[in-house]
């Protein structure tokens, strides 16, 4: 690209032209830029002209190594960029105020820090002398003066003390601070391999210092590991906070002053700081959350290294950091005194939640004060329950519901949880004296909910209700009426409670009531929160699950898809709500017979959940369970069985006698039967049946399922009469709950019909089977594979019974079934068998 011979000429011409007055340069170049023949060499001329234009700027741009060292007046941009922040060696050995500067110990964003000593020798201890670097003096001068004033007012064992302040001859301000020996907190904790407990106790020292500063109306605003130095004092780690450099006074009216953006540290800056909005103590809460996150997990909340700043800013504003427990590496764990699994387990739950609450993007959702954050850390250390509950009321309720066997009691505990949460939020908001309106609002909400709950609990107290009807029906009806009649001012709380009651109704298989409550809750949420709010998605999911349970799969799929879209948009791809919707869709696909799609959806939801949930978490176990079920349906028994064993063990351990435990017993039993272990299967099915009857009463669909299952195992062992009895009870239960058009009802009819036929009651049997086929078609559509398979069974029974004409009428459906089957499917043989029976009959 560069021509060596041309370059020599360029050098000379450039050097000469630079001395020519600007007005004569064109003429000079046109005269001198000639080739051997004397013709104008335009390429040469243009290149020299180009370099000439760059020459002036180039000098300033370069600077050299010495420029970078002494803080040259020229730009020296390249030197600065290459050699780093201009340093200030010039003060070493000089006297500044009462101090003699001994050594430069560092440079920060604002300037240089020196170690110095009292010149008169009265105090042997060194001080840290901080001087603004020249380029910034004009910018941060006033801020520096503020720091001086602020720090002077702070006196706390964990805050570096301001000793003195003044100005150099050139006007640059300096301050002398307590010289703090130590390492940044994160590095100290790692190099001393502090356990999680020790890290938390150290963190509490930091909280204590920041809370103290807040009480003095000082916000730090630049909390980060390098501003929190830790040294071992008397055998214990002691943290000291440095650099209230960009802190500004919070005025008494609560409004905050603004600060420039240049000195932000994105990994610890709160979203409102990045947006350059007024910052309050909430920004320090956020930064402490980021600090704790890193201290616990070894990872920063925001990845800053090697990334363009706009992406970093985007992350600070929009991306919720994954829970600390999910990002711990084996290496980080080894510095926290344990294997990765152990540390991960240790962080899960409370600590994930505490950090999450401190790091909320919206500051009103964070801890309302540093004290609040410290209190939760302290409560956690003391083994007490923390105030930072899971993010949503919904999660809170379902957690409580899961732990309780009788749905009504669970509902009440869930209500109590809601009230407790609101009350705590209100009290901590009051305590902070900030966000007055919101605190007032929350207080009102808490009181209102509290009153409501007191009334409601009163109704359940037998001594007060005078021994009135305490059946579930009555209790639910009254609870529902109470919710509807109160909480006018709090549509979101009312919606949560209504949905909760809907779930209780649904668990009692009172689907119409559940549907009404879910719809009511959804409408309330849409009206109060907007169509795109995650709670709206959750409401849609309630309805989807109900539709699924009722057998309306088209509706279930549509609702799940809507919920999925809302949750993805609002919460991101990896959110647990997204996983729940994927799981729902997987269930719909499964029951429709699209097993590949089912497997796909369930595996995606499992990936999200395994990454974020502890092994015993209900959602994770249930996902595993469903996946096992689909694998079972795929006849992948070897893969399914270990999953079932895992799920069953988990269920027995965490739930004991529970509807979910019964379900696993049932499903695992089905697998055992498929692999030829009927005795094992029968034992598990019977255990499930007994459990379900005790928990749910005799007519519940789950009981019906167990009745059918036990019947089926008996049937395979030729115990037809016993089987028939069980099938009849199952059919009765299913009709009473699902109405007459439901796949389950169809299945009961088929089973019953077949077992009748097996006992020689042919007419009765065939009639029942035909009923079953119709119900199946009405439920799934006549062309559904399951419906067509049902027809095949019917045709087989007809053929066996020698009903040639009726068998022949099934042939078109059998052909359509054949079109759905792949080559080699054993069902093809069954179809052929039916057809050949017809051939024989007509021959």
């Amino acid at each position: 690209m560069l021509d060596p011979t041309l370059w020599r000429r360029i050098e000379s011409l450039l050097d000469e032209a630079a001395d020519v007055p600007a007005s004569e340069r064109d003429a000079f170049l046109n005269t001198h830029c000639r080739d051997e023949s004397g013709a104008l060499d335009t390429a040469l001329r243009d290149e020299v002209a180009r370099l000439l234009a760059l020459d002036d700027e180039a000098g300033g741009f370069f600077g050299d190594l010495r420029d970078a060292t002494v803080g040259a007046d020229g730009d020296g941009a390249l030197a600065s960029a290459v050699f780093g922040t201009p340093a200030l060696d010039d003060l070493v050995g000089r006297e500044v105020g009462r101090y003699i500067v001994e050594e430069r110990v560092g440079t920060g964003g604002m300037g240089a820090v020196y170690r110095a000593r009292r010149a008169d020798g009265t105090f042997a201890r060194p001080v840290a002398l901080k001087v603004v670097r020249p380029g910034l003096a004009a910018d941060v001068g006033p801020r520096f003066a503020r720091e001086r004033k602020l720090l002077g007012s702070l006196d706390h064992p964990h805050v570096a003390r301001l000793l003195d302040a003044g100005a150099l001859e050139d006007g640059r301000p300096w301050i002398a601070m307590e010289f703090v020996q130590g390492e940044p907190i994160t590095r100290y904790a790692d190099s001393h391999e502090l356990s999680i407990e020790a890290r938390l106790r150290l963190f509490l020292q930091v909280c204590d210092a920041v809370a103290y500063a807040h009480r003095q109306l000082v916000v730090h605003r630049d909390l980060k590991p390098s501003n929190v130095l830790v040294a071992t004092v008397g055998g214990e780690p002691r943290a000291v906070l440095l650099d209230f450099g960009i802190a500004t006074l919070v005025r008494e009216d609560g409004a905050a002053t603004r600060t420039g953006r240049t000195l932000l540290t994105p990994a610890y800056a709160a979203p409102e700081q990045v947006r350059d909005e007024p910052t309050t103590t909430a920004a320090d809460v956020y930064a402490l959350g980021a600090l704790l996150y890193e201290l616990l997990s070894g990872v920063r909340t925001v990845q800053t290294e090697g990334r363009p700043s706009h992406l970093i800013v985007q992350d600070v504003l929009d991306r919720t950091a994954p829970p600390p427990s999910t990002v711990v590496t084996a290496e980080a764990a080894s510095k926290r005194g344990g294997a990765r699994e152990k540390v991960t387990r240790r962080l899960r739950g409370d600590l994930d939640r505490i950090v999450g609450k401190a790091l909320r993007k919206e500051r009103v959702r964070r801890y309302s004060s540093v004290e609040g954050l410290a209190r939760d850390v302290g409560r956690h250390l003391a083994g007490r329950t923390i105030e930072a509950r899971p993010d949503t009321l919904r999660y809170r309720m379902t957690t409580f519901v899961r732990r309780n066997r009788t749905p009504v009691a669970a509902g009440l505990i869930a209500l109590a949880a809601v009230v407790g949460g609101a009350g705590i939020a209100a009290s901590s908001a009051r305590q902070a004296g900030l966000e007055r309106d919101r605190a007032e609002q929350q207080r009102q909400r808490a009181e209102e909910v509290s009153e409501f709950l007191t009334d409601l609990l009163g109704e359940f107290d037998p001594s007060r209700s005078g021994g009135s009807d305490l059946s579930p029906d009555s209790v639910l009806a009254r609870a529902t009426a109470s919710v509807r009649a109160s909480l006018d001012a709090h549509p979101d709380v009312r919606a949560d409670l209504l949905a909760s009651l809907g779930q209780i109704h649904q668990s009692y298989a009172r689907f119409d009531d559940a549907q009404d409550l879910f719809v009511e809750a959804l409408d309330l949420r849409r009206a109060s929160l907007g169509d795109e709010h995650p709670d709206v998605g959750t409401g849609l999911r309630d309805l989807a699950w109900l539709a699924y349970v009722r057998g309306d799969y088209d509706r279930a799929e549509a609702l799940y898809a809507d919920a999925l879209a809302i949750h993805r948009h609002a919460l991101g791809e990896d959110h647990l709500d997204v996983a729940a919707n994927l799981e729902g869709l997987g269930l719909v696909h499964r029951i429709r017979g699209d097993l590949d799609a089912a497997l796909n959806h369930l595996q995606r939801s499992l990936v999200i959940r395994e990454a974020q949930l502890p092994p015993g978490d209900e959602r994770l176990v249930s996902n595993l369970n469903t996946l096992a079920y689909v694998l079972y349906n795929h006849e992948r028994y070897d893969e399914a069985e270990p999953l079932y064993q895992r799920v069953l063990a988990q269920r027995r351990q965490t739930l004991g006698e529970h509807v979910q435990t019964a379900q696993v017993l049932n499903d695992y039993a089905a697998l055992l039967l498929s692999v030829g272990r009927p005795a094992d299967a029968l034992a598990l099915h019977r255990e499930a049946l007994a459990m379900r009857e005790r928990l749910l009463g005799p007519l519940h669909p789950h009981v019906a399922q167990s009745l059918s299952a036990v019947g089926w195992v008996l049937q395979t062992q030729a115990r037809y009469a016993e089987a028939e009895d069980l099938y009849r009870r199952a059919l009765e239960a299913r009709r009473s709950h699902f109405g007459s058009t439901h796949v389950s009802v169809a299945n009961s009819l088929l089973l019953l019909g077949e077992v009748c036929a097996l006992q020689g009651k042919t007419d009765a049997g065939l009639g029942l089977i035909e009923d079953g086929v119709r119900v199946m078609e009405a439920s799934l559509g006549a062309e559904h594979k399951s419906a067509l398979l049902t027809r095949l069974r019917y045709a087989e029974r007809l053929a066996e019974a020698g009903r040639v004409d009726e068998t022949r009428r099934q042939v078109p459906a059998l052909r359509r079934l054949r079109d759905l089957l792949e080559a080699g499917d054993p069902v093809l043989e069954r179809i052929r068998a039916v057809e050949s029976s017809l051939d024989l009959a007509s021959a």
Partner: protein, 202 residues
């Protein structure tokens, strides 16, 4: 191998300089030695400042550089040593930059304070510095292909912080030639680097 005392220029550098003067060692050996010495000094300074506001790596390297060249004060072929040290300086920085870029392949410009960059992830350089150094080095390689002399001048002036006179002595050129070469090289490099958004520092 026991480490030499950190702050004093290593005794074997002095011995090497003696050998060089007696014609018993060549510039290449000196370059290797100075290169190693720069890195060692930089590492040492870094360890010493560990735990407080910390200088970034290149600042440490150039502090090390000044300690090193301070030790050859009064040497009779001091300028020659400085010339070699400048080359070592460039090479040390390029090595750090390459290491950093290898760590952060496909990176951009983080706007975190430099001291933080060093303390948190313990990277060798800020990405911005790594990019800048690499861009400069690449441009300098291109320039050197057309004119080795110009590239050497830039090394001495920029990386070594040498004066025009020192550079002339070290490279055995006239002061006027160094001035001419420096001006053209500077302008050309500026033209090469200017479009790089990394250097849009103003």
């Amino acid at each position: 191998m026991s480490a030499p005392p950190p702050d004093a220029p290593a005794g074997d550098v002095t011995r090497l300089l003696d050998a060089l003067r007696r014609g018993e060692a060549d510039s290449e050996a000196l370059f290797r030695r100075l290169y190693d010495e720069l890195r060692r000094l930089a590492r040492h300074h870094r360890a010493r400042w560990h735990g407080n506001e910390t200088l970034n790596t290149t600042a440490l390297v150039h502090e090390a550089y000044f300690k090193l060249i301070g030790s050859v004060e009064g040497f009779e072929n001091r300028s020659h040593v400085l010339g070699v040290a400048s080359r070592a300086m460039r090479q040390v920085l390029v090595t750090y930059a390459e290491a950093q870029r290898a760590l952060k392949r496909g990176g951009g410009v983080p706007d975190i304070p430099l001291d933080d960059a060093l303390q948190m992830g313990d990277p060798l350089l800020s990405d911005e510095q790594a990019e800048t150094i690499t861009a400069l080095d690449e441009a300098l390689v291109r320039l050197g292909k057309a004119d080795e002399r110009a590239a050497r001048v830039v090394e001495c002036r920029f990386f070594g912080g040498m004066t025009v006179e020192e550079t002339a002595e070290a490279l055995d050129l006239s002061v006027a030639t160094v001035g001419r070469s420096w001006r053209a090289a500077r302008a050309w490099l500026y033209g090469e680097l200017k479009p790089t958004p990394l250097l849009d520092l103003g």
